[in-house]
Symmetry: C2
């Protein structure tokens, strides 16, 4: 089977490459709006399905499409991608000194439709950050493409994250162990 | 202060480099034998101290030495570095389907002596691995330099680790967040 990764995220590409299975990357443009009564992990699971449905061509019989979406969930609120650097600083001040959840929804689709759609949760604990640390990170790393305004594999992940409960790779990009298990289960 | 990393581990060098603080690397040869009544985290903490004491030159007033040691602890037994590839396969069969502990001891030493010595624990859960997966990994990645015969940042970490409780970077090399906190606390 030919694996297609429907994500431009460099972290997801790196994780997929680590499986030592050939795959190609496509860019999917989906309207990512979701019903406002969805909460927590239901949100990225819903959006991962929208992305799978937005794939522009019919899949061939030997193709498997993987789509994913990640949100940061703090005190019952979604932190998406920051609008600008001030917004990134505001998000990091909110995350400082607290435990939040990273939810990633993943869909696996074949010519038969969506064969698996699941969500993975990781609890991430940040220590208290100083304003100087937050500004140093945002000014140097510009985390505007990242949900919650941080990359766990960057400086901020090294100095701020004191505890994880769940999958690290889920926080970095997506739950690569579960994706591997699905590919194996279907013999893809 | 000038930071000296007393470890040749590429993963520890990568983590230190991520702090964006200059440092240099030295190779320390220490006799790593320890009292047989030590258990769990006491073992790498003891060995990290042996490494700090084995640094061959007196430290200058503006130098800070960081040493570390990591063990894998499974069902009350230490898994060290495998002797050969058959031993690596044996260790991975032991880890398969179980939760083990990764303990890293870290010592921070100045001209005044050891100023901090601590241990960090992470629980790591492996799913059941097939013999084929274990052999594929060992034959391709030759994990003979790694405690417990695995690198969490390699293929085996992607496909086998289903859950972490604690610090991911502790499993990868050492608890970089705690090291950063110590360097900050002393204004090094």
């Amino acid at each position: 089977m030919k694996i297609i990764l429907g994500s431009q995220s460099p972290r997801r590409k790196e994780l997929m490459a680590g499986l030592d299975i050939p795959f190609r990357v496509v860019n999917i443009h989906a309207d990512e709006s979701y019903p406002l009564d969805l909460r927590g992990g239901d949100i990225p699971q819903y959006i991962a399905q929208l992305k799978a449905q937005a794939y522009p061509e019919p899949l061939a019989a030997d193709e498997v499409l993987i789509t994913a979406d990640t949100i940061v969930w703090l005190d019952g609120q979604v932190l998406g991608k920051p609008k600008d650097e001030a917004d990134a600083c505001r998000m990091l001040r909110q995350l400082s000194g607290k435990t939040h959840q990273v939810f990633t929804g993943v869909c696996v689709k074949t010519v038969a439709g969506i064969v698996e759609c699941f969500v993975e949760k990781t609890d991430v604990t940040f220590r208290e950050l100083t304003d100087e640390e937050i500004e140093t990170y945002v000014n140097k790393y510009h985390p505007l493409d990242k949900a919650g305004a941080y990359g766990v594999q960057e400086w901020i992940g090294y100095v701020a994250v004191t505890h994880l409960n769940g999958s690290y790779f889920n926080v970095m990009g997506f739950p690569i162990d579960k994706i591997y298990q699905v590919l194996k289960k279907y013999d893809f």
